[in-house]
């Protein structure tokens, strides 16, 4: 418990510094905020007009399809808020600054994974959560389904954390982070729609290999009462398995780290 509080205090401190850096450049903050809001509005409008004409998407009506998209956004934006530092990781390795992180009295993985929370995402998260609650209410879920939804969102976030850890570990070995993280994001963006629209073998890949289905689609399905007990249980096991694998890969990458840039 004492250790947890110690890291919580460090996270608050690092996040405050990260926010101050962005808030110092207000025009940059505004332009990125406007971009993110516009992208969200454009996509919601696209879904609205698409469903107005097509009436359903893989059997899901417009409210359900928009809820799938909002659930994707909740997982994706929350992950970006916490793990933004990953996007800066390459420069730490290339410049040798990673050595300074390793010398500090805290877990290096924690520092490079969560050391730079994104204030722009922090601003967009409350209205996003509110929109998800609003659209979710229209689907009249049971209390049990809401609980499963929240549980699976946490499981989805664990998998996103695992992928971010794998990306930075890969970055230590190959010095390539920027494109790897963007490819990860492109793949997860397939979760903007229910994965039922994809055909095999892509659907299988999105369920078991890069489990976008578990991260983004399954929570929304559970909310609608469409997820089986086995599905939920498998999701929880897979998320724990992914976290375990990512930690092992991180340890492996650290063994390969040569500190060549220092």
């Amino acid at each position: 418990m004492k250790r947890l509080l110690y890291y919580l205090r460090i996270w608050v401190f690092m996040s405050r510094n990260s926010f101050l850096m962005v808030l110092n450049q207000r025009s940059v903050l505004l332009i990125f905020l406007a971009g993110k809001v516009l992208r969200f509005l454009f996509f919601i409008s696209f879904l609205f007009f698409l469903l107005k004409g097509a009436e359903n998407l893989a059997g899901y009506n417009s409210t359900q399809t928009i809820f799938f998209f909002l659930s994707f956004m909740v997982v994706d934006t929350t992950a970006q808020f916490f793990f933004r530092e990953v996007y800066r990781f390459r420069s730490y390795v290339v410049t040798g600054d990673f050595d300074l992180i390793l010398a500090k009295p805290m877990n290096a993985l924690f520092r490079v994974l969560m050391g730079g929370a994104d204030v722009i995402d922090l601003i967009t998260l409350p209205p996003l959560y509110a929109a998800t609650v609003y659209v979710g209410k229209l689907l009249n879920p049971s209390l049990e389904n809401v609980f499963l939804y929240l549980l699976l969102l946490v499981s989805g976030l664990l998998i996103t954390a695992a992928f971010h850890i794998i990306v930075i570990s890969f970055g230590i070995i190959t010095l390539e982070v920027d494109h790897t993280i963007m490819i990860y994001r492109d793949i997860t963006s397939m979760g903007r729609f229910p994965v039922d629209i994809y055909k095999e073998p892509l659907k299988g890949i999105l369920t078991y290999f890069i489990p976008v289905a578990i991260m983004m689609t399954l929570p929304a399905k559970a909310f609608m009462g469409l997820a089986s007990f086995t599905g939920v249980l498998s999701a929880l096991i897979i998320s724990i398995l992914f976290i375990f694998i990512s930690f092992r890969f991180w340890n492996f990458a650290m063994e390969k780290y040569s500190s060549a840039s220092s």
């Binding site: 332009i31 990125f32 971009g35 992208r39 007009f49 097509a54 893989a58 494109h179 490819i183 729609f193």
Partner: protein, 267 residues
């Protein structure tokens, strides 16, 4: 002319220096096509379905057409200009006996040539994997106008990028921000790169048609699919040409203003 040919060759070779970067960028393009393909394949899964003026063949041709049009129009090196200005490196180019705009146009053409080669490979691969129905345009007149509309789109995007990349003259830290807002967000949604714009209500389409964005991707593909003919086709080509002139004058004006305030920090 000879010096620009050399720029073309060097720029082409430079793309191969960062091979992993280039391959990753193409992989990302393929992934984006997957999403759009499966989305529309699902919407048009019912036999003989007609929606928003498309049948299955035409909508999937639209999706596959995106591979080529994006390689032609949206692959560009001009986004590096913002960094040149912010770091003061643009001064190096101004001292050389080359026209800065022609220099970047040459680099753009080089980038497009390479992207096009890869687009052909990706198209063939995706075609073999997905086996989509394909709509072949056999009217030579429409094919010529389709090619003209692509050339106009290339120039429009090139000038648009030069305008957006002039922001660092006044705010060096905002280079990527302006690029993100205009070319990543607005171009992606308003050009038809994600979805055909005719799913939008007619009133919204009418407004959009007076902006330069639909003429980057949506309009050329409509011409190829034969969905725009007669007066509307020539009206589209005319508006697109007018936009090139407007943007060209605006670009010149903004760059002159920019150079007057520029202090080349970092040099």
């Amino acid at each position: 002319m000879g010096k620009y040919l050399q720029v073309f060759k060097i720029s082409f070779q430079q793309e191969f220096v960062y091979r992993l970067n280039f391959i990753m960028w193409r992989v990302r393009n393929v992934l984006q096509i997957f999403i759009v393909f499966f989305l529309w394949d699902t919407v048009f899964s019912a036999q003989g379905r007609q929606l928003f003026g498309y049948d299955r063949d035409k909508i999937l041709t639209y999706v596959f057409g995106l591979i080529f049009i994006k390689a032609f129009v949206l692959s560009s090196r001009v986004q590096d200009v913002a960094g040149d200005i912010a770091r003061g490196e643009i001064i190096n180019y101004l001292l050389k006996p080359v026209n800065y705009f022609k220099y970047w146009l040459t680099r753009d053409i080089s980038s497009k040539a390479l992207n096009l080669v890869f687009a052909v490979g990706e198209f063939s691969l995706l075609y073999l994997i997905l086996r989509p129905p394909f709509y072949f345009q056999n009217n030579p007149f429409l094919i010529i106008l389709f090619l003209i509309s692509i050339i106009l789109a290339i120039f429009t995007y090139y000038i648009l990028l030069f305008i957006v990349n002039a922001i660092p003259f006044w705010a060096p830290e905002m280079g990527w921000g302006g690029h993100f807002l205009v070319t990543v967000i607005m171009v992606e949604f308003l050009s038809g790169a994600l979805f055909p714009l005719d799913i939008l209500p007619a009133s919204l389409q009418n407004v959009l048609n007076f902006t330069p964005f639909p003429y980057l991707i949506f309009f050329p593909l409509q011409v190829y699919l034969g969905k725009i003919t007669g007066f509307l086709l020539f009206k589209g080509i005319f508006i697109s040409t007018i936009w090139i002139f407007i943007l060209w004058f605006f670009m010149n004006w903004i760059w002159k203003k920019g150079f007057k305030v520029y202090q080349a920090y970092g040099r």
